[in-house]
Protein backbone atom coordinates (compact mmCIF):
# COMPACT_ATOMS: atom_id res chain seq x y z
CA UNK A 1 0.00 0.00 0.00
CA UNK A 2 1.51 3.32 -1.00
CA UNK A 3 0.70 6.15 1.34
CA UNK A 4 1.69 9.73 0.93
CA UNK A 5 3.93 10.97 3.75
CA UNK A 6 1.26 13.21 5.19
CA UNK A 7 -1.13 10.34 5.82
CA UNK A 8 -1.91 9.80 9.47
CA UNK A 9 -3.14 6.26 9.91
CA UNK A 10 -4.49 7.04 13.41
CA UNK A 11 -6.57 10.02 12.39
CA UNK A 12 -10.28 9.23 12.06
CA UNK A 13 -12.55 11.29 9.83
CA UNK A 14 -15.86 12.74 10.90
CA UNK A 15 -18.94 10.70 10.11
CA UNK A 16 -22.61 11.46 10.54
CA UNK A 17 -25.19 8.95 11.70
CA UNK A 18 -28.15 8.84 9.28
CA UNK A 19 -30.43 6.21 10.77
CA UNK A 20 -30.51 3.30 13.17
CA UNK A 21 -32.30 0.00 12.61
CA UNK A 22 -32.97 -2.58 15.33
CA UNK A 23 -31.70 -5.99 14.34
CA UNK A 24 -32.03 -8.28 17.35
CA UNK A 25 -31.72 -7.79 21.11
CA UNK A 26 -28.71 -5.52 21.83
CA UNK A 27 -27.74 -5.43 18.17
CA UNK A 28 -28.44 -2.48 15.91
CA UNK A 29 -27.43 -1.42 12.44
CA UNK A 30 -26.05 2.12 12.11
CA UNK A 31 -26.20 3.78 8.71
CA UNK A 32 -23.58 6.51 8.42
CA UNK A 33 -21.50 8.39 5.93
CA UNK A 34 -18.43 10.62 6.05
CA UNK A 35 -19.28 14.31 6.07
CA UNK A 36 -16.61 14.76 3.39
CA UNK A 37 -17.86 13.21 0.10
CA UNK A 38 -14.29 12.61 -1.11
CA UNK A 39 -13.59 10.63 2.05
CA UNK A 40 -16.77 8.63 1.47
CA UNK A 41 -15.80 7.84 -2.12
CA UNK A 42 -12.32 6.69 -1.06
CA UNK A 43 -13.72 4.53 1.73
CA UNK A 44 -16.23 2.86 -0.60
CA UNK A 45 -13.40 0.94 -2.24
CA UNK A 46 -13.29 -1.48 0.71
CA UNK A 47 -13.34 -5.26 0.25
CA UNK A 48 -15.72 -7.73 1.89
CA UNK A 49 -14.24 -8.90 5.20
CA UNK A 50 -12.41 -5.67 5.97
CA UNK A 51 -13.15 -3.63 9.06
CA UNK A 52 -13.01 -0.05 10.32
CA UNK A 53 -12.06 1.62 13.59
CA UNK A 54 -14.99 3.50 15.11
CA UNK A 55 -14.28 6.47 17.40
CA UNK A 56 -16.55 7.67 20.16
CA UNK A 57 -14.42 10.48 21.53
CA UNK A 58 -14.02 10.51 25.25
CA UNK A 59 -14.76 6.79 25.39
CA UNK A 60 -12.45 5.24 22.81
CA UNK A 61 -12.19 3.37 19.58
CA UNK A 62 -13.23 -0.14 18.58
CA UNK A 63 -13.03 -2.37 15.51
CA UNK A 64 -16.23 -3.13 13.61
CA UNK A 65 -16.69 -5.23 10.48
CA UNK A 66 -18.16 -3.78 7.35
CA UNK A 67 -21.39 -5.67 6.72
CA UNK A 68 -22.25 -3.81 3.52
CA UNK A 69 -20.88 -4.97 0.21
CA UNK A 70 -18.93 -2.37 -1.77
CA UNK A 71 -21.52 -2.96 -4.49
CA UNK A 72 -24.21 -1.42 -2.27
CA UNK A 73 -24.89 2.28 -1.93
CA UNK A 74 -24.99 2.55 1.87
CA UNK A 75 -22.26 2.31 4.47
CA UNK A 76 -23.23 0.90 7.86
CA UNK A 77 -22.08 -1.04 10.92
CA UNK A 78 -23.98 -3.66 12.82
CA UNK A 79 -22.89 -3.55 16.42
CA UNK A 80 -23.72 -5.50 19.54
CA UNK A 81 -23.72 -3.57 22.77
CA UNK A 82 -21.13 -5.21 25.01
CA UNK A 83 -19.08 -2.49 26.67
CA UNK A 84 -18.37 1.19 26.85
CA UNK A 85 -17.66 2.07 23.19
CA UNK A 86 -20.43 -0.02 21.73
CA UNK A 87 -22.82 1.44 24.34
CA UNK A 88 -21.77 4.96 23.33
CA UNK A 89 -22.50 4.16 19.69
CA UNK A 90 -25.88 2.73 20.68
CA UNK A 91 -26.63 5.97 22.50
CA UNK A 92 -26.16 8.10 19.36
CA UNK A 93 -29.14 9.59 17.55
CA UNK A 94 -29.53 10.25 13.82
CA UNK A 95 -27.67 13.47 13.01
CA UNK A 96 -25.05 12.85 15.70
CA UNK A 97 -21.40 12.89 14.71
CA UNK A 98 -18.69 10.38 15.48
CA UNK A 99 -15.58 9.34 13.57
CA UNK A 100 -14.34 6.42 11.52
CA UNK A 101 -11.05 5.34 9.96
CA UNK A 102 -10.32 2.50 7.62
CA UNK A 103 -10.94 0.28 5.80
CA UNK A 104 -8.39 -2.08 7.35
CA UNK A 105 -7.38 -5.71 7.11
CA UNK A 106 -6.97 -8.09 4.22
CA UNK A 107 -10.61 -8.96 3.52
CA UNK A 108 -11.81 -12.02 1.62
CA UNK A 109 -10.13 -12.53 -1.77
CA UNK A 110 -13.47 -12.75 -3.60
CA UNK A 111 -11.85 -12.58 -7.05
CA UNK A 112 -9.67 -15.59 -6.28
CA UNK A 113 -12.86 -17.55 -5.74
CA UNK A 114 -14.27 -16.86 -9.20
CA UNK A 115 -15.50 -20.08 -10.78
CA UNK A 116 -15.96 -21.86 -7.44
CA UNK A 117 -18.92 -22.86 -5.31
CA UNK A 118 -19.40 -20.73 -2.20
CA UNK A 119 -20.73 -22.14 1.06
CA UNK A 120 -21.48 -19.61 3.82
CA UNK A 121 -21.92 -20.88 7.36
CA UNK A 122 -22.76 -18.29 10.02
CA UNK A 123 -23.81 -18.46 13.64
CA UNK A 124 -25.42 -15.49 15.39
CA UNK A 125 -23.66 -12.21 14.73
CA UNK A 126 -21.06 -14.08 12.67
CA UNK A 127 -23.33 -13.10 9.81
CA UNK A 128 -22.11 -9.48 10.12
CA UNK A 129 -18.86 -9.94 8.16
CA UNK A 130 -20.33 -12.63 5.90
CA UNK A 131 -23.24 -10.45 4.80
CA UNK A 132 -20.77 -8.39 2.79
CA UNK A 133 -19.44 -11.45 0.95
CA UNK A 134 -22.91 -12.84 0.25
CA UNK A 135 -24.20 -9.59 -1.23
CA UNK A 136 -20.98 -9.20 -3.17
CA UNK A 137 -21.22 -12.74 -4.58
CA UNK A 138 -24.85 -12.21 -5.57
CA UNK A 139 -23.93 -8.96 -7.31
CA UNK A 140 -21.37 -10.93 -9.31
CA UNK A 141 -23.58 -13.99 -9.58
CA UNK A 142 -22.25 -15.18 -12.96
CA UNK A 143 -18.72 -15.41 -11.55
CA UNK A 144 -19.54 -18.19 -9.10
CA UNK A 145 -21.06 -21.65 -9.34
CA UNK A 146 -23.43 -22.70 -6.56
CA UNK A 147 -23.98 -20.38 -3.61
CA UNK A 148 -25.28 -21.93 -0.39
CA UNK A 149 -26.02 -20.19 2.89
CA UNK A 150 -26.39 -22.00 6.23
CA UNK A 151 -27.45 -19.79 9.09
CA UNK A 152 -27.96 -20.56 12.73
CA UNK A 153 -29.39 -18.45 15.56
CA UNK A 154 -30.46 -19.15 19.13
CA UNK A 155 -34.14 -18.44 18.53
CA UNK A 156 -36.12 -17.06 15.59
CA UNK A 157 -35.86 -13.67 17.30
CA UNK A 158 -32.09 -13.82 16.96
CA UNK A 159 -32.09 -13.90 13.17
CA UNK A 160 -30.66 -10.66 11.85
CA UNK A 161 -30.83 -8.93 8.46
CA UNK A 162 -34.34 -10.34 7.98
CA UNK A 163 -35.04 -8.45 4.75
CA UNK A 164 -31.95 -10.01 3.25
CA UNK A 165 -32.86 -13.45 4.56
CA UNK A 166 -36.31 -13.26 2.96
CA UNK A 167 -34.72 -12.23 -0.32
CA UNK A 168 -32.13 -14.99 -0.22
CA UNK A 169 -34.77 -17.59 0.61
CA UNK A 170 -36.82 -16.54 -2.42
CA UNK A 171 -33.94 -16.01 -4.81
CA UNK A 172 -33.32 -18.68 -7.44
CA UNK A 173 -29.60 -18.00 -7.51
CA UNK A 174 -28.89 -19.00 -3.94
CA UNK A 175 -29.87 -21.76 -1.50
CA UNK A 176 -30.56 -20.36 1.96
CA UNK A 177 -31.06 -22.71 4.90
CA UNK A 178 -31.96 -21.46 8.37
CA UNK A 179 -31.99 -23.15 11.73
CA UNK A 180 -32.58 -22.14 15.34
CA UNK A 181 -31.48 -23.79 18.59
CA UNK A 182 -34.91 -23.28 20.13
CA UNK A 183 -38.14 -22.84 18.18
CA UNK A 184 -40.62 -20.12 19.19
CA UNK A 185 -43.06 -17.69 17.68
CA UNK A 186 -44.57 -20.29 15.36
CA UNK A 187 -41.22 -21.27 13.84
CA UNK A 188 -41.74 -24.11 11.34
CA UNK A 189 -38.19 -24.36 10.05
CA UNK A 190 -35.28 -26.50 11.17
CA UNK A 191 -34.38 -26.79 14.85
CA UNK A 192 -30.82 -27.73 15.78
CA UNK A 193 -27.26 -26.52 15.50
CA UNK A 194 -26.14 -25.09 12.18
CA UNK A 195 -24.26 -28.27 11.27
CA UNK A 196 -27.53 -30.22 11.39
CA UNK A 197 -28.56 -28.39 8.21
CA UNK A 198 -25.81 -30.18 6.25
CA UNK A 199 -27.56 -33.52 6.82
CA UNK A 200 -31.11 -32.34 6.17
CA UNK A 201 -32.92 -34.36 3.49
CA UNK A 202 -32.68 -32.59 0.17
CA UNK A 203 -29.54 -30.65 1.16
CA UNK A 204 -26.45 -31.43 -0.85
CA UNK A 205 -23.47 -29.38 0.36
CA UNK A 206 -21.06 -28.54 -2.44
CA UNK A 207 -17.59 -29.80 -1.48
CA UNK A 208 -15.55 -30.13 -4.64
CA UNK A 209 -14.13 -26.86 -5.91
CA UNK A 210 -15.78 -25.02 -3.04
CA UNK A 211 -14.81 -22.37 -0.51
CA UNK A 212 -16.54 -22.50 2.88
CA UNK A 213 -16.85 -19.23 4.85
CA UNK A 214 -17.35 -19.89 8.57
CA UNK A 215 -18.07 -17.13 11.11
CA UNK A 216 -19.62 -17.42 14.52
CA UNK A 217 -18.91 -17.96 18.21
CA UNK A 218 -15.85 -20.13 19.06
CA UNK A 219 -17.91 -23.18 20.05
CA UNK A 220 -19.98 -23.09 16.86
CA UNK A 221 -16.76 -22.65 14.88
CA UNK A 222 -15.23 -25.81 16.33
CA UNK A 223 -18.28 -27.96 15.58
CA UNK A 224 -18.78 -26.61 12.07
CA UNK A 225 -15.12 -27.26 11.23
CA UNK A 226 -15.58 -30.87 12.32
CA UNK A 227 -18.72 -31.22 10.19
CA UNK A 228 -17.07 -29.64 7.15
CA UNK A 229 -14.03 -31.85 7.45
CA UNK A 230 -16.31 -34.88 7.69
CA UNK A 231 -17.90 -33.74 4.44
CA UNK A 232 -14.46 -33.73 2.86
CA UNK A 233 -13.44 -30.07 3.02
CA UNK A 234 -9.73 -29.36 3.06
CA UNK A 235 -8.39 -26.88 5.63
CA UNK A 236 -7.17 -24.51 2.95
CA UNK A 237 -10.68 -24.20 1.51
CA UNK A 238 -12.24 -23.09 4.78
CA UNK A 239 -11.96 -19.35 5.52
CA UNK A 240 -12.90 -17.40 8.61
CA UNK A 241 -12.22 -14.15 10.43
CA UNK A 242 -10.40 -13.92 13.75
CA UNK A 243 -11.38 -11.50 16.45
CA UNK A 244 -8.72 -9.96 18.65
CA UNK A 245 -8.51 -7.07 21.02
CA UNK A 246 -7.37 -4.22 18.75
CA UNK A 247 -6.15 -0.76 19.59
CA UNK A 248 -4.73 0.58 16.35
CA UNK A 249 -5.89 -1.55 13.41
CA UNK A 250 -2.73 -0.73 11.47
CA UNK A 251 -0.12 -3.18 12.76
CA UNK A 252 1.57 -0.99 15.36
CA UNK A 253 0.06 -1.34 18.84
CA UNK A 254 0.78 -5.06 19.13
CA UNK A 255 -2.49 -5.99 20.79
CA UNK A 256 -3.85 -8.22 18.05
CA UNK A 257 -0.60 -10.12 17.55
CA UNK A 258 -1.18 -13.87 17.63
CA UNK A 259 1.51 -16.42 16.84
CA UNK A 260 3.19 -15.11 13.73
CA UNK A 261 0.39 -12.77 12.62
CA UNK A 262 -0.88 -9.29 13.33
CA UNK A 263 -4.59 -9.96 12.90
CA UNK A 264 -5.34 -6.34 11.94
CA UNK A 265 -3.06 -6.31 8.90
CA UNK A 266 -2.40 -9.97 8.09
CA UNK A 267 -6.07 -10.80 8.84
CA UNK A 268 -8.75 -10.71 10.00
CA UNK A 269 -9.43 -13.24 7.23
CA UNK A 270 -7.47 -16.49 7.48
CA UNK A 271 -7.89 -19.95 6.01
CA UNK A 272 -8.31 -22.69 8.59
CA UNK A 273 -4.99 -23.98 7.39
CA UNK A 274 -3.32 -20.67 8.33
CA UNK A 275 -5.16 -20.48 11.64
CA UNK A 276 -3.67 -23.79 12.72
CA UNK A 277 -0.19 -22.62 11.75
CA UNK A 278 -0.42 -19.43 13.81
CA UNK A 279 0.79 -21.48 16.73
CA UNK A 280 -1.43 -20.06 19.44
CA UNK A 281 -4.91 -20.63 20.85
CA UNK A 282 -7.53 -18.69 18.98
Amino acid sequence: MNLSPVDNCYLPKIAILDRVVDEIAEVKTFYWRFTDPAEQAAFKKFRPGQFAQVSLFGIGEFPASLPPSPTEADTFFTVKQVGSCSAALHALKPGDKFAVRGPYGNGFPMEEYYGKNLVFVAGGIGLIPLRSCIIYALAHREKYKRIQIFLGAKTPRDLMYRDNLREWEKSAGVECHLTVDRAADGWTGNVGVVGSLFKKPGVQVAVEDTVAFVCGPPIMFRFVIKDLKALGFQDKNIVSTLERYMKCGVGKCGHCCIGVAYVCVDGPVFTYDQIQKLGEDI
Binding site: D7, K247, V260
Partner: protein
Protein backbone atom coordinates in the same frame (compact mmCIF):
# COMPACT_ATOMS: atom_id res chain seq x y z
CA UNK B 1 33.01 6.99 6.96
CA UNK B 2 35.11 9.91 8.02
CA UNK B 3 36.82 10.04 11.40
CA UNK B 4 38.49 12.75 13.45
CA UNK B 5 40.34 13.03 16.72
CA UNK B 6 39.53 15.41 19.55
CA UNK B 7 40.77 16.04 23.08
CA UNK B 8 38.75 14.65 25.98
CA UNK B 9 38.49 18.17 27.32
CA UNK B 10 36.63 19.19 24.14
CA UNK B 11 34.11 16.37 24.01
CA UNK B 12 31.33 18.35 25.65
CA UNK B 13 31.83 21.07 23.07
CA UNK B 14 29.90 18.77 20.76
CA UNK B 15 26.96 19.20 23.12
CA UNK B 16 27.44 22.96 22.93
CA UNK B 17 27.55 22.86 19.12
CA UNK B 18 24.34 20.87 18.96
CA UNK B 19 22.66 23.24 21.38
CA UNK B 20 23.82 26.20 19.31
CA UNK B 21 22.26 24.55 16.27
CA UNK B 22 18.96 24.62 18.15
CA UNK B 23 18.82 21.04 19.39
CA UNK B 24 17.44 20.19 22.78
CA UNK B 25 20.17 17.79 23.89
CA UNK B 26 19.55 14.82 26.18
CA UNK B 27 22.59 13.37 27.88
CA UNK B 28 23.30 10.82 30.61
CA UNK B 29 23.78 11.95 34.20
CA UNK B 30 24.76 10.07 37.30
CA UNK B 31 22.44 9.63 40.22
CA UNK B 32 22.88 7.83 43.50
CA UNK B 33 24.72 4.52 43.19
CA UNK B 34 23.81 2.60 40.03
CA UNK B 35 21.05 5.08 39.32
CA UNK B 36 21.64 6.98 36.09
CA UNK B 37 19.32 8.80 33.74
CA UNK B 38 19.04 10.84 30.59
CA UNK B 39 18.06 14.44 31.10
CA UNK B 40 17.78 17.63 29.10
CA UNK B 41 21.06 19.55 29.09
CA UNK B 42 20.99 23.11 30.49
CA UNK B 43 23.72 25.65 31.13
CA UNK B 44 23.60 24.61 34.78
CA UNK B 45 23.93 20.85 34.46
CA UNK B 46 26.13 20.75 31.35
CA UNK B 47 29.29 20.15 33.37
CA UNK B 48 27.80 17.09 35.07
CA UNK B 49 27.27 15.06 31.90
CA UNK B 50 28.86 11.64 32.26
CA UNK B 51 30.61 9.91 29.37
CA UNK B 52 31.31 6.67 31.21
CA UNK B 53 28.50 5.39 33.38
CA UNK B 54 26.12 2.43 33.61
CA UNK B 55 23.50 2.70 30.87
CA UNK B 56 20.32 4.28 32.31
CA UNK B 57 17.48 1.78 32.77
CA UNK B 58 14.84 4.12 31.36
CA UNK B 59 15.74 3.84 27.67
CA UNK B 60 16.33 6.93 25.52
CA UNK B 61 13.83 5.59 22.96
CA UNK B 62 11.31 7.71 24.82
CA UNK B 63 12.65 10.86 23.17
CA UNK B 64 11.29 9.52 19.87
CA UNK B 65 8.53 7.19 21.07
CA UNK B 66 7.34 8.89 24.27
CA UNK B 67 5.98 6.90 27.18
CA UNK B 68 2.79 8.94 26.88
CA UNK B 69 2.09 10.83 23.68
CA UNK B 70 -0.88 12.89 22.61
CA UNK B 71 -2.15 11.94 19.16
CA UNK B 72 -5.02 14.36 18.68
CA UNK B 73 -7.32 16.88 20.27
CA UNK B 74 -11.05 16.80 19.70
CA UNK B 75 -13.30 19.76 20.26
CA UNK B 76 -17.06 19.46 20.48
CA UNK B 77 -19.30 22.44 19.82
CA UNK B 78 -22.99 22.56 18.88
CA UNK B 79 -22.94 18.90 17.93
CA UNK B 80 -19.98 19.45 15.65
CA UNK B 81 -16.62 17.73 15.99
CA UNK B 82 -13.22 19.23 15.29
CA UNK B 83 -10.37 16.74 15.18
CA UNK B 84 -6.90 18.19 15.24
CA UNK B 85 -3.85 15.93 15.11
CA UNK B 86 -1.21 17.14 17.55
CA UNK B 87 2.20 16.71 15.95
CA UNK B 88 5.46 17.43 17.64
CA UNK B 89 8.71 17.56 15.74
CA UNK B 90 11.17 19.00 18.23
CA UNK B 91 14.77 19.36 17.13
CA UNK B 92 16.52 17.04 19.51
CA UNK B 93 19.76 15.19 20.00
CA UNK B 94 20.73 12.32 22.24
CA UNK B 95 24.32 12.62 23.35
CA UNK B 96 25.96 9.51 24.74
CA UNK B 97 23.49 6.94 23.49
CA UNK B 98 24.94 3.43 23.78
CA UNK B 99 25.29 1.15 20.80
CA UNK B 100 22.56 -1.24 22.01
CA UNK B 101 20.12 1.67 22.24
CA UNK B 102 21.11 2.85 18.76
CA UNK B 103 20.19 -0.63 17.52
CA UNK B 104 16.94 -0.32 19.49
CA UNK B 105 16.07 2.89 17.68
CA UNK B 106 16.92 1.23 14.38
CA UNK B 107 14.47 -1.51 15.28
CA UNK B 108 11.80 1.10 16.04
CA UNK B 109 12.56 2.73 12.67
CA UNK B 110 12.03 -0.56 10.89
CA UNK B 111 8.85 -1.23 12.82
CA UNK B 112 7.14 2.17 12.88
CA UNK B 113 8.19 3.40 9.45
CA UNK B 114 7.89 0.12 7.62
CA UNK B 115 5.25 -2.27 6.34
CA UNK B 116 1.64 -1.40 5.56
CA UNK B 117 1.38 1.85 7.46
CA UNK B 118 3.87 4.52 8.46
CA UNK B 119 3.58 6.04 11.89
CA UNK B 120 3.62 9.77 11.25
CA UNK B 121 4.07 10.71 14.92
CA UNK B 122 7.18 8.60 15.16
CA UNK B 123 8.41 9.83 11.80
CA UNK B 124 8.15 13.50 12.76
CA UNK B 125 10.10 13.05 15.97
CA UNK B 126 12.65 10.76 14.36
CA UNK B 127 13.30 13.06 11.43
CA UNK B 128 14.73 15.75 13.69
CA UNK B 129 16.70 13.50 16.00
CA UNK B 130 20.50 13.59 16.03
CA UNK B 131 22.26 10.62 17.63
CA UNK B 132 25.71 10.85 19.22
CA UNK B 133 26.70 7.29 20.06
CA UNK B 134 29.33 6.63 22.71
CA UNK B 135 31.16 3.32 22.51
CA UNK B 136 31.31 1.41 25.79
CA UNK B 137 35.03 1.08 26.49
CA UNK B 138 35.32 1.23 30.27
CA UNK B 139 34.69 -2.26 31.68
CA UNK B 140 34.22 -0.90 35.18
CA UNK B 141 31.67 1.80 34.42
CA UNK B 142 30.14 1.19 30.98
CA UNK B 143 29.71 -2.54 30.85
CA UNK B 144 27.22 -4.15 33.19
CA UNK B 145 26.91 -7.66 34.52
CA UNK B 146 23.99 -8.32 32.20
CA UNK B 147 25.23 -6.72 28.97
CA UNK B 148 25.31 -9.04 25.97
CA UNK B 149 25.54 -6.74 22.97
CA UNK B 150 28.44 -8.86 21.71
CA UNK B 151 26.02 -11.81 21.39
CA UNK B 152 23.25 -9.70 19.87
CA UNK B 153 25.76 -8.20 17.44
CA UNK B 154 24.88 -4.62 18.30
CA UNK B 155 27.98 -3.49 20.16
CA UNK B 156 30.12 -2.49 21.91
CA UNK B 157 30.63 -0.21 18.87
CA UNK B 158 27.62 0.38 16.64
CA UNK B 159 28.50 0.01 12.98
CA UNK B 160 25.71 2.25 11.67
CA UNK B 161 22.52 4.20 12.41
CA UNK B 162 24.20 6.99 14.40
CA UNK B 163 25.04 10.50 13.22
CA UNK B 164 28.25 10.68 15.18
CA UNK B 165 30.10 8.07 17.18
CA UNK B 166 32.56 8.85 19.94
CA UNK B 167 35.12 6.48 21.34
CA UNK B 168 37.47 7.10 24.24
CA UNK B 169 40.95 6.17 23.04
CA UNK B 170 42.47 6.86 26.45
CA UNK B 171 45.40 9.22 26.92
CA UNK B 172 43.12 12.23 26.75
CA UNK B 173 41.88 11.58 23.22
CA UNK B 174 38.58 10.59 21.62
CA UNK B 175 37.89 9.38 18.12
CA UNK B 176 34.80 10.73 16.38
CA UNK B 177 33.28 8.82 13.46
CA UNK B 178 30.64 10.41 11.25
CA UNK B 179 27.70 8.19 10.30
CA UNK B 180 25.74 10.79 8.33
CA UNK B 181 26.37 14.02 6.49
CA UNK B 182 24.98 15.96 9.43
CA UNK B 183 27.50 14.23 11.64
CA UNK B 184 30.32 14.96 9.26
CA UNK B 185 29.36 18.62 9.11
CA UNK B 186 30.35 18.96 12.77
CA UNK B 187 33.95 18.22 11.83
CA UNK B 188 34.33 21.80 10.61
CA UNK B 189 34.58 22.82 14.27
CA UNK B 190 38.18 23.80 15.18
CA UNK B 191 38.61 21.25 17.97
CA UNK B 192 38.55 18.28 15.55
CA UNK B 193 41.79 17.19 13.93
CA UNK B 194 42.77 14.47 11.51
CA UNK B 195 43.76 11.14 12.95
CA UNK B 196 46.71 8.91 12.16
CA UNK B 197 47.17 5.21 11.43
CA UNK B 198 48.08 4.88 15.10
CA UNK B 199 44.67 6.13 16.17
CA UNK B 200 42.98 3.54 13.99
CA UNK B 201 45.20 0.81 15.38
CA UNK B 202 44.43 1.99 18.89
CA UNK B 203 40.69 1.85 18.20
CA UNK B 204 41.02 -1.69 16.94
CA UNK B 205 43.08 -2.76 19.93
CA UNK B 206 40.64 -1.24 22.41
CA UNK B 207 37.65 -2.90 20.78
CA UNK B 208 39.47 -6.22 20.84
CA UNK B 209 40.12 -5.81 24.56
CA UNK B 210 36.63 -4.57 25.42
CA UNK B 211 35.04 -7.58 23.77
CA UNK B 212 36.86 -9.75 26.31
CA UNK B 213 35.50 -7.84 29.28
CA UNK B 214 31.95 -9.10 28.89
CA UNK B 215 30.90 -11.74 31.38
CA UNK B 216 31.37 -15.20 29.83
CA UNK B 217 27.69 -15.17 29.45
CA UNK B 218 25.24 -17.90 28.61
CA UNK B 219 23.83 -15.56 26.00
CA UNK B 220 26.60 -16.74 23.73
CA UNK B 221 23.91 -19.35 23.15
CA UNK B 222 21.62 -16.56 21.89
CA UNK B 223 21.59 -17.54 18.23
CA UNK B 224 20.93 -21.17 19.09
CA UNK B 225 17.99 -20.02 21.23
CA UNK B 226 16.65 -18.13 18.22
CA UNK B 227 16.85 -21.32 16.17
CA UNK B 228 15.04 -23.35 18.80
CA UNK B 229 12.28 -20.79 19.35
CA UNK B 230 11.82 -20.35 15.58
CA UNK B 231 11.52 -24.07 15.05
CA UNK B 232 8.92 -24.32 17.83
CA UNK B 233 11.18 -26.73 19.69
CA UNK B 234 10.69 -25.21 23.15
CA UNK B 235 8.82 -27.55 25.45
CA UNK B 236 5.62 -26.38 27.09
CA UNK B 237 7.06 -27.04 30.55
CA UNK B 238 9.88 -24.57 29.92
CA UNK B 239 7.41 -21.83 29.03
CA UNK B 240 5.42 -22.80 32.11
CA UNK B 241 8.48 -22.53 34.31
CA UNK B 242 9.21 -19.10 32.85
CA UNK B 243 5.57 -18.11 33.31
CA UNK B 244 5.55 -19.20 36.95
CA UNK B 245 8.38 -16.80 37.69
CA UNK B 246 6.71 -13.81 35.99
CA UNK B 247 5.10 -11.40 38.45
CA UNK B 248 3.35 -9.55 35.61
CA UNK B 249 4.83 -6.20 36.55
CA UNK B 250 5.59 -5.23 32.95
CA UNK B 251 8.98 -3.82 33.98
CA UNK B 252 10.88 -5.63 31.24
CA UNK B 253 8.91 -3.95 28.50
CA UNK B 254 9.19 -0.48 30.01
CA UNK B 255 12.98 -0.68 30.11
CA UNK B 256 13.31 -2.41 26.74
CA UNK B 257 14.79 -0.21 24.00
CA UNK B 258 13.12 -2.32 21.32
CA UNK B 259 9.57 -2.88 22.62
CA UNK B 260 6.92 -1.12 20.55
CA UNK B 261 3.51 -1.99 21.99
CA UNK B 262 1.13 0.71 23.13
CA UNK B 263 -2.44 1.22 24.16
CA UNK B 264 -4.67 4.15 23.27
CA UNK B 265 -6.85 6.07 25.67
CA UNK B 266 -9.15 9.08 25.53
CA UNK B 267 -9.19 11.60 28.32
CA UNK B 268 -11.41 14.57 28.98
CA UNK B 269 -9.29 17.73 29.23
CA UNK B 270 -12.02 20.37 29.23
CA UNK B 271 -15.80 20.55 29.26
CA UNK B 272 -15.91 20.14 25.47
CA UNK B 273 -12.45 18.85 24.80
CA UNK B 274 -11.03 15.38 24.66
CA UNK B 275 -7.52 14.26 23.88
CA UNK B 276 -6.46 10.88 22.60
CA UNK B 277 -3.13 9.62 23.90
CA UNK B 278 -1.06 6.54 23.42
CA UNK B 279 0.79 4.95 26.27
CA UNK B 280 3.43 2.22 26.32
CA UNK B 281 1.81 -1.12 27.01
CA UNK B 282 3.18 -4.51 27.96
CA UNK B 283 2.23 -7.94 26.69
CA UNK B 284 3.02 -9.24 30.17
CA UNK B 285 -0.01 -7.52 31.62
CA UNK B 286 -3.24 -9.46 32.00
CA UNK B 287 -5.47 -7.06 30.12
CA UNK B 288 -3.34 -6.92 27.02
CA UNK B 289 -5.33 -9.32 24.89
CA UNK B 290 -8.63 -9.38 26.79
CA UNK B 291 -11.53 -8.93 24.43
CA UNK B 292 -15.00 -7.57 24.89
CA UNK B 293 -17.08 -10.20 26.63
CA UNK B 294 -14.20 -11.23 28.86
CA UNK B 295 -12.72 -13.89 26.54
CA UNK B 296 -8.95 -13.69 26.89
CA UNK B 297 -7.17 -15.89 24.40
CA UNK B 298 -3.82 -15.45 26.10
CA UNK B 299 -5.03 -15.89 29.63
CA UNK B 300 -2.27 -18.00 31.13
CA UNK B 301 0.77 -16.07 32.27
CA UNK B 302 3.11 -18.47 30.55
CA UNK B 303 1.33 -17.83 27.26
CA UNK B 304 2.03 -14.16 27.64
CA UNK B 305 5.70 -14.75 28.55
CA UNK B 306 5.92 -17.12 25.63
CA UNK B 307 4.55 -14.32 23.49
CA UNK B 308 7.24 -11.84 24.53
CA UNK B 309 10.12 -14.16 23.83
CA UNK B 310 8.55 -15.56 20.69
CA UNK B 311 8.01 -12.04 19.38
CA UNK B 312 11.61 -11.15 20.11
CA UNK B 313 13.40 -14.32 19.14
CA UNK B 314 11.46 -15.98 16.36
CA UNK B 315 13.06 -15.84 12.98
CA UNK B 316 9.70 -15.00 11.48
CA UNK B 317 9.59 -11.60 13.18
CA UNK B 318 13.29 -10.90 12.68
CA UNK B 319 12.68 -11.35 8.98
CA UNK B 320 9.47 -9.38 9.04
CA UNK B 321 11.26 -6.25 10.25
CA UNK B 322 14.73 -7.20 9.04
CA UNK B 323 15.90 -6.29 12.50
CA UNK B 324 15.63 -7.89 15.87
CA UNK B 325 13.51 -6.84 18.82
CA UNK B 326 16.27 -7.66 21.32
CA UNK B 327 19.48 -5.68 21.21
CA UNK B 328 21.38 -7.18 24.11
CA UNK B 329 21.25 -4.26 26.55
CA UNK B 330 20.48 -6.60 29.44
CA UNK B 331 18.09 -4.19 31.15
CA UNK B 332 15.30 -6.77 31.48
CA UNK B 333 17.72 -9.03 33.35
CA UNK B 334 18.56 -6.21 35.74
CA UNK B 335 14.97 -5.20 36.53
CA UNK B 336 13.19 -8.56 36.55
CA UNK B 337 12.13 -9.70 40.04
CA UNK B 338 11.62 -13.24 38.84
CA UNK B 339 14.98 -13.52 37.11
CA UNK B 340 13.54 -14.23 33.70
CA UNK B 341 15.28 -11.52 31.73
CA UNK B 342 16.52 -12.46 28.32
CA UNK B 343 19.86 -13.95 29.50
CA UNK B 344 18.07 -16.26 31.96
CA UNK B 345 15.55 -17.33 29.37
CA UNK B 346 18.31 -18.17 26.93
CA UNK B 347 19.98 -20.18 29.70
CA UNK B 348 16.72 -22.02 30.47
CA UNK B 349 16.33 -22.90 26.81
CA UNK B 350 19.93 -24.10 26.70
CA UNK B 351 19.43 -26.30 29.74
CA UNK B 352 16.23 -27.71 28.35
CA UNK B 353 17.88 -28.75 25.10
CA UNK B 354 20.79 -30.28 26.97
CA UNK B 355 18.24 -32.34 28.88
CA UNK B 356 16.37 -33.36 25.74
CA UNK B 357 19.60 -34.29 23.98
CA UNK B 358 20.49 -36.63 26.84
CA UNK B 359 17.36 -38.66 26.18
CA UNK B 360 17.80 -38.78 22.47
CA UNK B 361 18.13 -42.39 21.30
CA UNK B 362 21.55 -43.22 19.93
CA UNK B 363 21.41 -44.16 16.27
CA UNK B 364 23.03 -47.48 15.58
Amino acid sequence: MKARILDSADVLKIVDLLRQQGHEVFAPFGGRGRDTCYDSVTDQNRGEIQIHLPNPYYPPKRFIFPHIERLMKVQRSDGDLQIEPTYREPKRAIFGIRSCDVAGIWHLDRFFLGREHRDIYYEKRRKNMFLVNVVCTDPARDIGEECFCVCADTGPAAREHFDLQLMDLGGGEFMAVAGTEAGEALFSAPFFRKGTEEHVAKRRAILGEVRKSFKPSTTSWFSAAIRHVSAGRIQEKTWEEIGKRCLECGGCTYVCPACTCFTVSDRQVGPDEVERVRIWDACALGGFTRMAGGHNPRRAVHDRRNRRFFRKLSHYFIQRELSMACVGCGRCAAVCHGDIGMPSVVEMIRRETAEVDKHEPVAR
